[in-house]
């Protein structure tokens, strides 16, 4: 679709709106492919949802398409792990999915089959191994599934790293630039000027629907808390399995036990999901529920000193899969948005699939499931 005839000489081949993790990854992939690329953002790098997210790089199994994308992207992060600078705090700590009862333990075994049949290294833990792996979990849990190669990082610095690498390869970054609309010659800024570009990539996260008609991306609010430093308190990203049941409900607010060890010893505590709430402020009741849930699984958490709480908005689509590829009605616009709660994880794969499509390169995994015009964009809870 990016025929060379279309590449403008004066301007850029590609203009990316949004310097979040998705825009940053796309910029790097474009620059690597030799495209002239510019990234625009009204805010600092990673100042949107990316700066509010958790940075768990996780292989997920809600659907085959989600699995394929998260798996592919995690492998890309693992390849890059070695070159990430220390401030990115990349750490291959693995995920433990915790089962609180026999029903959830059955889910552990189902997951084990799913993952191992697709070549993901997993290990079933019985209650004793679980307690050994995470001594601060409460007694009485049944077991868990350890996914060894999952990892964590600090999203704002990871995003900065991607942008800077892109810049080293010729990409241009322009901050303090608000995009007012997407014109046929490129993004139009709020001061009326046009950034001339052949293709515009809308990577504006929750703001992406304001820039193009015909896509549905809803903000899905989340709360997080972070503690002071407690090295050794937590060893893995630990997530309850009840999470899956609750996280997908679009009708009601939900909370889940989801904790992350940061390399510096801080512990990030999540999480909540709320639809239809655009208020940035902390919802005290939901925060309490989230804390109750967390301390239910890990009682000692309640004695840890908490430094901050904040909220963020996940860019959610109806079928929980992102939009990656050309806009159905406008060839000059591509979408890289709608990554919901997995955008840190799936940013690298998104970028590859996008550039594959731009340059008509063969892709390592099929990109059709993520095309913006896909049919059967089912309701998540249907």
């Amino acid at each position: 679709m990016l025929g060379h005839s279309k590449m403008t000489t004066a301007g850029f081949d590609v203009a990316i709106v949004g310097a979040g993790v998705v825009g940053a990854a796309c910029a790097l992939e474009c620059a690597r492919a030799g495209l002239r690329v510019i990234v625009l953002d009204r805010d600092p790098i990673g100042g949107g949802t990316t700066g509010a997210g958790m940075g768990h790089l996780v292989v997920m199994d809600d659907s085959e398409a989600q699995f394929a994308l998260t798996r592919f992207s995690c492998s890309l992060w693992n390849e890059r792990g070695v070159e990430l600078p220390p401030e990115v705090e990349y750490q291959k700590c693995g995920t433990i999915w915790v089962a609180a009862d026999e029903v959830e333990m059955a889910e552990v075994h189902r997951k084990q089959d799913f993952y191992s049949s697709r070549g993901v290294a997993v290990e079933v833990l019985d209650y004793r191994q679980l307690a050994e792996a995470e001594p601060n979990l409460r007694e009485g849990l049944v077991g868990g599934l350890l996914v060894r190669d999952d990892s964590v990082l600090y999203p704002p610095c990871a995003t900065r790293f991607l942008i800077e690498k892109a810049q080293q390869q010729g990409a241009v970054l322009r901050l303090n630039s608000t995009v007012a609309s997407l014109g046929s010659h490129g993004p139009v800024l709020s001061d009326g000027s046009v950034v001339s570009a052949g293709i515009t990539v809308n990577a504006a996260g929750i703001s992406s629907p304001q820039l193009v008609a015909g896509i549905e991306v809803q903000p899905r609010k989340g709360h997080l808390l972070i503690t002071d430093r407690y090295p050794g308190f937590l060893n893995h990203q630990v997530v309850e399995l009840g999470y899956l049941k609750r996280a997908h409900s679009v009708t009601s607010d939900s909370v889940a036990f989801n904790v992350q060890p940061r390399k510096n010893g801080q512990i990030l505590i999540g999480s909540s999901r709320q639809y239809g709430n655009r208020e940035k402020g902390i919802d005290a009741l939901l925060l309490r529920q989230m804390i109750r849930q967390a301390t239910e699984y890990m009682p000692e958490l309640k004695n840890l000193s908490t430094i901050r709480a904040w909220t963020g908005f996940r860019p959610a689509t109806r079928d929980n899969l992102p939009f990656i590829g050309p806009h159905p009605n406008n060839e000059n616009i591509c979408l890289a948005t709608g990554h919901e709660g997995l955008g840190i994880t799936t940013s690298l794969a998104t970028a590859e699939l996008l550039v594959d499509q731009l340059l008509k390169r063969p892709s390592k995994i099929p990109y059709e499931p993520y095309l913006p015009g896909r049919s059967g964009e089912r309701r998540a809870d249907a």
């Binding site: 002071d228 430093r229 407690y230 510096n264 004695n303 000193s305």
Partner: protein, 82 residues
């Protein structure tokens, strides 16, 4: 109220007047270094009024306590370098 209380700082008994903040007991016991910063520098109280967090120590197994705002209680155990 007793006139003096004894607390334990890094394993040594320290007797101080009742009502003394932990920070003062730590200083009187000869420690000007309360903790190590994240890059390993020695640190001690700065503000004396509970806002800078430089005087953090471990008290009764609770890490990261502001020693300038907490009064010594009989038998308290304090560890510097929390």
């Amino acid at each position: 109220m007793p006139e003096f209380v004894t607390i334990w700082i890094n394993g040594s008994a320290v007797r101080v007047p009742a009502g003394t903040p932990v920070s003062i007991a730590v200083l009187m016991a000869g420690h000007s270094e309360f903790r190590r910063s994240v890059s390993g520098e020695p640190r001690g109280p700065l503000c004396g009024m509970g806002i800078c967090m430089e005087c953090r120590v471990q008290i009764d197994n609770q890490a990261h306590c502001r020693s300038c705002q907490i009064l010594c209680q009989e038998g308290m155990t304090v560890r510097t370098h929390d």
